[in-house]
């Protein structure tokens, strides 16, 4: 792998922060047993400039960006973190780019067409994210999406030099692996249009639901629900969990080592989905007639209701007791065996 990468020309990456919280950079530098810098080096990826990490500051940094914008320095990959703020009144002035007399929106429009690949890191850069929530005070959007709709700052027809649309590494913040694996797969020339889902998220992590692999699976199957935060039970029925409706391999890999949202005891908020920020009362499940309004992504409602009723009636006492506790209070044992 290492030899193959170094045999090819180097691969340059520019990272820009727009209307961001900086959390996607924090996630990226969490990646790798030997450290992110070492990993980039191992794959022959050069950091042309990164606002949090590079030495060059002020006019030195502007000179790098100017050379890329003019085409004098070729660029393989542009990563953008943060929403693109178009306001006020289309001026982009909510996000000035320090020392340049320009806005971040302006720099993006100049640099993106020069990049062979363009990656939106995080749900803000992908779709608008939290800053695009009502009342969207800054007219925030994503690079190529405005919520779920194509468009955004660069427009529906934008293609990077490779011919690919902006790749949306959605998540708030995304798993460090989603970011790094996308960068390296691009560097290896692995990405084709059909490796992206319908809204340009990499299928390698977006092809499953956040629910898949959830450690609360038995509680889900029996509809043994947590009634309050810190309970062990399924978080879908009462506590707003959207893991059955949101994409991600969230529960198939560890976050910050061994974690995940549902492992941490709180619901999935569907942070990989456009418009997730529009939810009101994240910690409650909206219900109509005792049935959750939002059902698992591809499950017919009648079946869900029927199966839920059946599984609730079949729930072992152990499962229903543990579901309403913050620790296991009853252990599994063979049916009919004497109580401990």
């Amino acid at each position: 792998m290492r030899e193959q990468a170094s045999a090819q020309a180097r691969f340059s990456m520019l990272w820009l922060q727009a209307g961001s919280c900086g959390g996607c950079t924090m996630a990226a530098i969490e990646h790798g047993e030997t450290g992110w810098f070492g990993e980039l080096e191992a794959f022959g990826v050069d950091l042309a400039w990164h606002p949090s990490l590079s030495e060059e500051t002020g006019e030195e940094a502007l000179a790098i960006l100017e050379r890329i914008a003019s085409g004098a320095t070729p660029l393989d990959l542009l990563c953008v973190e943060g929403s693109i703020l178009r306001g006020p009144d289309g001026s982009g002035l909510f996000n000035r780019f320090g020392g340049s007399g320009r806005t971040a929106l302006d720099w993006l429009k100049r640099i993106a067409p020069r990049a062979r690949y363009c990656v939106a890191v995080g749900s803000c850069a992908a779709f608008g994210g939290v800053p695009a929530g009502a009342p969207n005070p800054t007219d925030a959007c994503g690079l190529q999406y405005d919520g779920a709709f194509p468009g955004g700052a660069l427009g529906e027809d934008f293609r990077s030099r490779s011919g690919l649309p902006v790749i949306n590494v959605a998540g708030c913040a995304p798993h460090p692996g989603w970011i790094m694996e996308t960068i390296v797969a691009l560097r290896m020339g692995d990405f084709a249009a059909d490796d992206l889902d319908a809204i340009a998220r990499p299928r390698f992590y977006a092809k499953t639901l956040a629910h898949h692999g959830c450690e609360r699976n038995e509680y889900y199957e029996f509809k043994a629900s947590a009634e309050k935060l810190s309970d062990l039970g399924c978080l879908m029925e009462h506590l707003g969990c959207k893991a059955t409706q949101a994409v991600g391999d969230c529960n198939q890999r560890g976050w910050s080592g061994s974690g995940s949202c549902t492992h941490g005891g709180y619901p999935c908020i569907a942070c990989t989905s456009p418009g997730f920020e529009a939810t009101r009362s994240f910690l409650e499940t909206p219900m109509v007639g005792g049935i959750p309004v939002n059902l698992p992504l591809d499950m017919p409602k009648a079946w869900f209701v029927a199966l839920a009723a059946l599984s609730k009636s079949a729930t072992p006492k152990r499962v229903s007791r543990n579901a309403r506790s913050d620790r296991v209070v009853q252990e599994p044992r063979r049916a009919g065996a004497p109580e401990a």
Binding site: G38, F94, N95, R96, L229, G257, S260, T262, F282, R327
Partner: protein
């Protein structure tokens, strides 16, 4: 006199622009511009109060836990209850892990690389400094990222993930830690301590915790700690007289941090010279004379946030927080000075105020103190007890959550009406430190620290400007939020 606009000011969190009036090799005055406004206070308006736990942490991906606990503290005050003891301890553990990670990131990735800049080539020890601390390619950058990553595995065990966790609730934390997990967490802390003792301090943590004066610090740097990164900084600070630059405005404020049954680990208060007074939260107000904001009430329980893109004289998206009309400095130096840490108090007296050196020393001392505290909090968990208590949030009321982020005092002020947020105001640490002028023309702390600075023939390119700005460890994404 010439005016120079410096930016993008990188290796801070977010982006920053500084306008400098330079005359005869000296900065006459500075204007600090916060370049980004996302409107978080507007985004929170009208939501149910508990949704602040989802939205507020996303103000900042660097001090996300701090934003979470400020929101949770405000909600807890609104509910009028207490968190479960274990939940308070688990919150301290996650908060300290984040704080230590922030200090570490600042020292190794943001601050030290400036000493590897070409402007310093030829100075004593430059080759060794550049080899160790060069941005991206230096040895230290390679060493610190794996250590930081392992430290943050504390979040995976306790809080699901980092950044942006929902584990921090008004009543405690959402995952009960078991016997095996406590051991996992203690192992992570021990492993991190090994990194500190080999690279950052070069001596056992206990010896760093015992440092009580500048004389002892110098003896450490010349003696047993000689090969450490801390000592490398102290030599650079002595060589470049970093104790003489970056003077803050005087008042040092801390909201107090890491609360437990016996009160906070680091005390709350306002220090001016040798006097430490209690804080009157009603004396906090924000001025918007030079902000791209509409004029309105000053106190965060009454204030509005209405951006105005065109406003004569305005130059920043940040408001200007003042305490009794004064600019105050916040951060690790202020926190340790208010708490009366003997070494920091000694530096404060000898330097005649805060300085570039003082701020960096305070952060590194705090890394040691918090790593030590992590072990204590982990052992104090009572594993058979609850971690989260259920608190009812009333539909109406007002409350504040005043906490400490790594970079200093962080406040959330919340007004609820009919079950919805009617007002949410945030004052972040760098809002204090990097505020613009107020209506009286008083500069913010960084503006004051830059005024009068000798920059010589290099003018706006003088590296000392980089040291002064980064010594505050600014978080610009938090600043205007």
């Amino acid at each position: 006199m010439s005016r120079t606009i410096v930016g993008p000011f990188n290796r801070v969190e977010g982006d920053l622009e500084v306008a400098l009036d330079i005359d005869d090799g000296r900065i006459r005055s500075a204007e600090v511009t916060t370049t980004l406004y996302r409107g978080y206070e507007q985004l929170l308006d009208g939501r149910v109060p508990l949704d602040a736990l989802v939205i507020a942490p996303r103000v900042c991906g660097i001090c996300s836990v701090s934003q979470s606990i400020a929101a949770a503290a405000a909600l807890r005050e609104l509910a009028g209850g207490r968190a479960a003891d274990n939940g308070a301890l688990a919150t301290n553990i996650a908060h300290a892990a984040e704080n230590v990670a922030d200090h570490l990131t600042h020292f190794y990735l943001f601050f030290m690389p400036d000493f590897a800049r070409a402007e310093y080539a030829g100075r004593r020890g430059f080759e060794a400094t550049a080899k160790r601390f060069k941005a991206v390619t230096g040895e230290a950058a390679r060493d610190v990222l794996p250590a930081r990553r392992r430290l943050l595995e504390i979040m995976g065990v306790l809080a699901g993930k980092w950044p942006h966790s929902l584990a921090f609730q008004p009543g405690g934390t959402t995952r009960a830690v078991g016997m095996g997990e406590r051991v996992q967490l203690l192992s992570l802390v021990a492993e991190f301590q090994t990194f500190l003792e080999s690279a950052l301090f070069g001596v056992a943590l206990d010896r760093v915790l015992a440092l009580e004066s500048l004389a002892e610090l110098d003896a450490f740097a010349d003696g047993p700690g000689r090969a450490s990164d801390f000592a490398a900084f102290l030599r650079l600070a002595a060589d470049l007289r970093l104790d003489e630059v970056g003077r803050g405005p005087g008042p040092l404020m801390s909201f107090g941090a890491y609360h437990g049954a016996d009160g906070p680990l680091f005390a709350r208060g306002l220090r001016q010279g040798d006097e430490v007074a209690s804080i009157d939260a009603a004396a906090i107000g924000e001025d918007v004379a030079y902000s791209w904001m509409r004029e309105g009430a000053a106190h965060p329980f009454e204030a509005e946030t209405v951006p105005v893109a065109q406003k004569p004289g305005a130059y920043s998206w940040a408001k200007a927080p003042r305490y009794r009309g004064q600019a105050v400095e916040v951060g690790a130096f202020a926190r340790q000075a208010v708490d009366g840490h003997p070494l920091i108090v000694d530096l404060l007296r000898r330097d005649g105020g805060s300085s570039v050196r003082g701020r960096v020393v305070a952060r590194l001392i705090e890394i040691a103190a918090l790593t030590h505290a992590l072990g204590g909090w982990l052992r104090a968990l009572r594993l058979k007890d609850a971690f989260c208590r259920q608190l009812e949030i009333p539909p109406d009321g007002r409350a504040s959550g005043l906490v400490e982020a790594a970079r200093g005092a962080l406040g959330h002020w919340l007004v609820a009406r009919a079950g919805k947020i009617a007002r949410y105001q945030i004052i972040a640490p760098t809002t204090w430190n990097f505020s613009p002028r107020d209506r009286e023309g008083r500069p913010g702390p960084l503006e004051g620290a830059l005024a009068g600075l000798e920059v010589g023939a290099l003018g706006a390119r003088a590296p000392v400007i980089q040291h002064v700005v980064r010594s505050f460890d600014p978080c610009m994404v938090c600043t205007a939020h």
